[in-house]
């Protein structure tokens, strides 16, 4: 009797989990496996993968050209994460300290960009900063400048574009953390003689670490693999890993090499995720 019940339960669980598990395995894990295999292959004239298997693609990936691109992408992504964090923390703090009604309105205002089309938003920023765009036209009209300033097609433009795109992804987790923040502890620290800086560094920052980490991962990962922002803000002159991968599957037509770089990108992202989980767990245990 008990065995029949247990069997039914097991079947029930299997039935519930099967669709999700199937989708995850077939459309996430398997494709990654395919990339893994193809990354070791060579290419034919059309760029499609053919045997033999070798490490050539990886060797090429560590060539100084691509290595520099990787490092550049990592650097820009780190900068993006830091800048976004520096901007988002005060904003999240302000919203968390606002009266309840204001809080909901402000969070709604933060969520709107979060829910709108990323491509369209980035285009809006590009439109604003173009040589014949509103900013330049305004400045010229006011007589502040004679010639339009070229603001796009620089690393800074890409950085601005990335920060612009990722801001909501940092503000929201930070706000979630700060909303639960125990202000009494903060006041207690100050009563005990800590100045603002120490109270912040020793009390607030550690307690909001989960939000900081979550936001950082949510900003860092898309930035490293960024394609849309780099294309739109970099004008074809700035190259990053996401763009390199895309071109291997487009114009440059070298699927095996593209796979190798994709895998290396996955390694980077996985390391970042592991750091996030390890630090995150440590923080939780410390509390």
């Amino acid at each position: 009797m008990m065995n029949a019940i247990r069997e039914r339960k097991r079947l029930q669980i299997f039935g519930l989990m099967f669709p999700g598990a199937f989708w995850l395995v077939v459309f996430f894990a398997l494709p990654l496996l395919v990339i893994f295999v193809i990354s070791f292959m060579a290419r034919d004239e059309l760029g499609s993968p053919v045997p033999p298997f070798s490490l050539d693609n990886y060797q090429q990936a560590f060539d100084s050209l691509y290595l520099n691109l990787f490092l550049f992408s990592l650097w820009i992504s780190l900068l993006t994460t830091v800048v976004t964090l520096l901007i988002s923390f005060p904003v999240a703090l302000y919203i968390a300290r606002s009266p309840k009604r204001w809080r909901n309105i402000l969070i709604f205002l933060v969520m709107i960009p979060f829910w709108t089309n990323f491509l369209v938003r980035t285009y809006a920023l590009q439109f604003l900063m173009r040589a014949n765009g509103p900013i330049n036209t305004l400045l010229q009209g006011l007589g502040v400048i004679q010639e339009p300033i070229s603001m796009l097609s620089t690393p800074v433009a890409v950085l601005i574009g990335l920060v612009y795109g990722e801001l909501p992804f940092m503000i929201l987790p930070l706000y979630a953390s700060l909303e639960k923040f125990d202000w009494a502890m903060f006041e207690a620290a100050q009563d005990l003689g800590a100045d603002m800086r120490r109270a912040f560094l020793r009390v607030m920052l550690p307690m909001t670490m989960p939000g900081v980490l979550a936001g950082s991962i949510l900003v860092f990962v898309p930035s490293v693999g960024s394609y849309i922002t780099v294309e739109l803000m970099g004008g074809g002159k700035i190259n990053m890993i996401g763009r390199v991968i895309a071109s291997q599957f487009g114009v440059a037509s070298n699927w095996p090499f593209g796979s190798a770089i994709s895998l290396l990108l996955m390694v980077v992202v996985t390391i970042a995720a592991l750091v996030y989980f390890r630090v995150g767990r440590g923080e939780r245990m410390a509390l």
Partner: protein, 273 residues
């Protein structure tokens, strides 16, 4: 917990606190300006009668009218809608089933699946898109509607799962237990009690999945086949050819659409409360 959230320090007495408060306001204002100025400017200029450039030459609705006559755009929009609806339906079903299993059942491999289900959220979109492309190519599967729908389900299902699971975690099971005490079996309890109460969470997840699908560019770009333009892909191809105010117009429409969706989602959440 609720008490703590309400307690905020009283108005600052010390001078450096006041300066701190001012700088908080300043950064917040700057950030909101930064977030919204490009969007507002874009919407404004979609009404500009000038063909190129940013000099205001007069108000016009002609760009929006041209949208309505733009067959390629309308077809792409239609395709995005179909893919959105179908993939959302799939994501919701799969995501909800998975959430029910993960939140309420216990089985050995649960921890593994917990980790795996976070994976799609963390993978860069370009890697997702490219790997799916290779997967379909290797499997000889022709790229088009099917691959698009399947891929959209793949990336939006985890978000539905997380949303529904969060709602399940907050669920008050005593109602279900009461129903079962009154003689309802498992199936009845689920359909008449659990599911209706879960609906707001499922709808939230559905709206999220739908938005993700409509807005998706990168994965769709790699996974689509000939003649299966989605709206973002169409916009991208237009952008590559050169900016026209029509792009501004369709962007404005999309922005308005997204705002409506989020407003709807929040309204539903508020009704629940």
């Amino acid at each position: 917990m609720g008490d703590r959230a309400e307690y905020a320090p009283p108005a600052p007495e010390r001078p450096n606190l006041r300066l701190g408060q001012l700088s908080l306001i300043a950064v917040t204002l700057f950030t909101f300006a930064f977030l919204y100025v490009p969007i507002i400017v874009l919407i404004l200029f979609s009404f500009n009668s000038a063909r190129t450039g940013a000099v205001w030459q007069g108000f016009t609705l002609s760009w929006y009218q041209r949208l309505l006559g733009n067959e390629a755009l309308l077809t792409a929009a239609g395709r995005s809608l179909i893919i959105g609806i179908v993939s959302t339906a799939g994501s919701v079903v799969i995501g909800t089933l998975t959430a029910l299993a993960m939140e309420r059942e216990h089985f050995r491999a649960k921890a593994v699946w917990d980790g795996l289900l976070y994976m799609p959220v963390i993978i860069p979109e370009i890697v997702s898109g490219v790997s799916l492309l290779l997967f379909f190519a290797a499997g000889g599967i022709e790229r088009g509607l099917l691959t698009l729908v399947v891929s959209h389900i793949a990336f939006s299902m985890p978000f539905v799962y997380l949303t529904v699971r969060a709602r399940l975690a907050d669920f008050d099971r005593s109602i279900e237990e009461a129903a079962q005490d009154l003689g309802a079996d498992e199936a009845k309890t689920f359909w008449l009690i659990t599911l209706p109460l879960l609906m707001p969470g499922i709808v939230s997840g559905a709206l999220l999945a739908f938005t993700l699908s409509i807005d998706d560019f990168i994965i769709s770009f790699f996974v689509t086949g000939k003649g299966w333009n989605t709206l973002p892909i169409y916009i991208w191809s237009q952008l590559k050819q050169g900016v026209t105010p029509e792009i501004n117009a369709i962007s404005a429409v999309l922005l308005l659409f997204s705002v409506s969706v989020i407003a709807l989602s929040l309204l539903l959440q508020r009704r629940r409360n």
